[in-house]
């Protein structure tokens, strides 16, 4: 900010328009707005608009970064993904399945558990701000730290988790990172721990926007706690629930670091997610055409899921 506010001492003459009270007069030169926009627009054009278009172009070529020729192949990269014998079809749909499993397992938990936490924190009690910060803290740590930490905690031999399970007399040496279904339990569990605070904060803001007199009216009508929750809280949270659902699905579909660091895709490729495969195919094997096609297919699947969400919520909204 200091960089912005310094160097302001320019002569006032640089503004050509004359002001006179009561008349609508141009407040700035024609070029001024574009000068304000220009620095951002350069970055926006180069790193957002250009790649969005360039990505489609790449996906229509046999684009091997390391080879001089990048021949046009039309939709062949896409056809390859959808034909059962295609070079990448097997890996791709296995990775899509892994992403799907992770999403289906984690999204319900990340909808319900943060809501419970938010309801808990919505009461007024001493230290509320402190606890809100405590539950949010893991979210400000990066996935690299979270992944390393949980890999250590879940280590079958010396990890804290198995160690305490052992002390409780439960079968020890559970293969948290190397076998199913444990690997999924680990990945989902650590993700809930990591991101719960984010959703809880959003719920909390939504809860505080529900007018208190609605609860009072419900109580006068003899509604118990549970009925108040069903008939006041949930309908009041509807837009927030839709937002949380959409964002959580998007984030789950973007899952990468947890699998990369903790399970390394194991066992086999069972926990290798779509993003992991796209990154490996594009930026390790340098087969960019295929990787770009994969990312557009994943994007279309996500778009369909989001549209479905909006539709479901609108129908429910109309019927209530």
């Amino acid at each position: 900010m200091a960089a912005v506010s310094s160097g302001v001492e320019r002569p006032v003459e640089s503004e050509p328009e004359v002001l006179s009270a009561g008349h609508r007069i141009a407040r700035h030169g024609k070029a001024t707005p574009y000068l304000f926009l220009a620095p951002f627009l350069v970055l926006f054009a180069v790193f957002i608009v250009a790649p969005a278009v360039y990505g489609i172009w790449i996906s229509l070529h046999d684009y091997d970064f390391l080879l001089p020729n990048k021949p046009w192949v039309g939709l062949a990269n896409y056809q390859d993904l959808f034909s059962p014998g295609g070079r990448d079809a097997g890996d791709f749909w296995q990775a899509m399945k892994a992403t799907g499993i992770f999403t289906v397992l984690s999204v319900p938990l990340l909808m319900v558990v943060p809501l419970a936490v938010a309801l808990l924190l919505n009461r007024s009690f001493p230290g509320r701000t402190f606890f809100r910060a405590v539950f949010f803290t893991p979210y400000v740590l990066g996935v690299a730290v979270v992944g390393l930490l949980w890999r250590y905690l879940l280590d079958p031999n010396i990890g804290l988790v198995n160690s305490y399970l052992d002390q409780l007399g439960i079968h020890r040496n559970l293969p948290w990172t190397t076998d199913l279904p444990w690997a999924w339990v680990s990945l989902v569990g650590m993700t809930v721990w990591w991101t719960l605070g984010f959703n809880a904060i959003i719920y909390l803001a939504g809860l505080q926007d529900i007018p208190p007199d609605l609860y009072e009216a419900a109580e006068v009508d003899g509604a118990g706690r549970w009925q108040q929750f069903l008939h006041v809280t949930l309908p009041g949270l509807r837009p927030v629930l839709l937002f949380v659902l959409t964002v959580t699905i998007l984030n789950s579909a973007n899952m990468f670091g947890q699998s990369f660091l903790v399970t390394k895709g194991a066992p086999g490729n069972e926990t290798r997610t779509a993003i992991m495969l796209i990154a490996e195919t594009g930026m390790r094997s340098f087969r960019m055409g295929t990787a770009a096609a994969m990312s557009y297919v994943l994007a279309v699947v996500l778009l369909l899921v989001s549209l479905l969400n909006f539709r479901l919520f609108r129908i429910r909204g109309e019927s209530s």
Binding site: M1, A3, V8, V12, E15, L19, A21, H28, T32, P33, F36, L37, P39, F40, F44, A45, V46, F47, I48, V49, A50, P51, A52, G55, I58, F65, L120, T129, A133, T137, P138, V140, L141, G142, V143, V145, L148, L149, L160, W193, I202, L204, A205, G206, D209, P239, V240, F243, V244, L250, A253, G257, I275, I278, A279, G282, M283, S295, Y296, A299
Partner: protein, 279 residues
């Protein structure tokens, strides 16, 4: 009904809060405690929470600049990348947001629509093309690859435009009558008024960039150019069974963001909450 459930409810409530707090704090304390242990102590069964002996030797390999895991360098790289990125975002986004919030010009609606429209494009679509764009500029394996691409993102402009729209216009009018030009109004009136929002954007951008993992793992190649998150994965490889060193690396990567978060807690939490209500 009420009084009976309230006593039960109150103790149940505090038990729930206490359990949650343990679940959230214990892993972080274990990370810190392990980083201050010797390796035999870190793998001892049953585990002990207090380092015995207490040692900072886990942190010592991190300061070795000539090793394959120069954590101090990674730390500096992370600081440079994250602050460079945050500074670039706040300056460019604030200028653009001011034009979109306060100035009139042909194409304003078009630009705003285009910028907001890109908010809904999933980030992974940019991975491969941006890798190639960065490669064409010759910025692979350099901090430019971390500072520039995410500065094109629409969030900052969108966020600051909302803030600028809510500022009172009277001061701007007064400055205009005093003969100030738009750039002076921006720097002397709008920027000081929007200081908390600008600080929030700086903190959010810094946190995001500091924690970014996938992108630096693939665009950086030389160990000396790594950021902390990218480096942590090779630290894990290099010290596979030396848990104090790995946890020391994790602590080093966590402390700056936790300190920043505590300092800016209210603003960060509020802007996260507000972003949800937009939906």
């Amino acid at each position: 009904m009420r009084s009976r459930s309230s006593l039960l409810g109150r103790s149940g409530f505090w038990i729930a809060v206490a359990l949650l707090t343990v679940v959230f704090v214990a892993p972080l304390l274990w990370m810190l405690s392990t980083s201050l242990k010797t390796n035999p102590d870190a793998t001892r069964q049953p585990p002990s929470w207090i380092p015995d002996p207490f040692t900072t030797s886990g942190y010592q390999p991190l300061t070795n600049l000539t090793s394959q895991t120069p954590v101090v360098r990674w730390f500096l790289n992370s600081i440079l990348a994250a602050s460079g990125n945050a500074a670039l975002i706040v300056v460019t986004a604030a200028l653009a947001a001011y034009a979109l919030a306060r100035l009139d010009f042909p194409g304003k609606r078009f630009f705003f629509g285009l910028i907001v429209g890109t908010l809904f494009i999933p980030a992974f679509l940019f991975l491969v093309p941006n890798y190639l764009i960065i490669a064409k500029f010759g910025w692979l394996d350099s901090l430019w690859a971390l500072i520039l691409p995410s500065a094109g993102g629409a969030f900052g402009v969108f966020f600051l435009r909302q803030v600028f729209l809510s500022l009172p216009r009277e001061l701007e009018e007064a400055a205009l009558l005093d003969g100030a030009n738009q750039f002076q109004i921006f720097t002397r009136v709008v920027v000081p008024l929007a200081r908390p929002a600008l600080a929030t954007l700086i903190v959010l951008s810094f946190l995001t960039n500091w924690n970014d993992f996938l992108w630096p793992v693939y665009v950086l190649f030389s160990p000396s150019n790594f950021t902390l998150p990218a480096g942590l994965s090779i630290l894990q490889g290099a010290y596979t069974t030396n848990y104090p060193v790995i946890m020391a690396g994790a602590v080093v990567a966590s402390v700056p963001v936790i300190v920043l978060f505590i300092a800016a807690q209210r603003h960060v939490v509020e802007s996260v909450a507000r972003s949800g209500l937009k939906g």
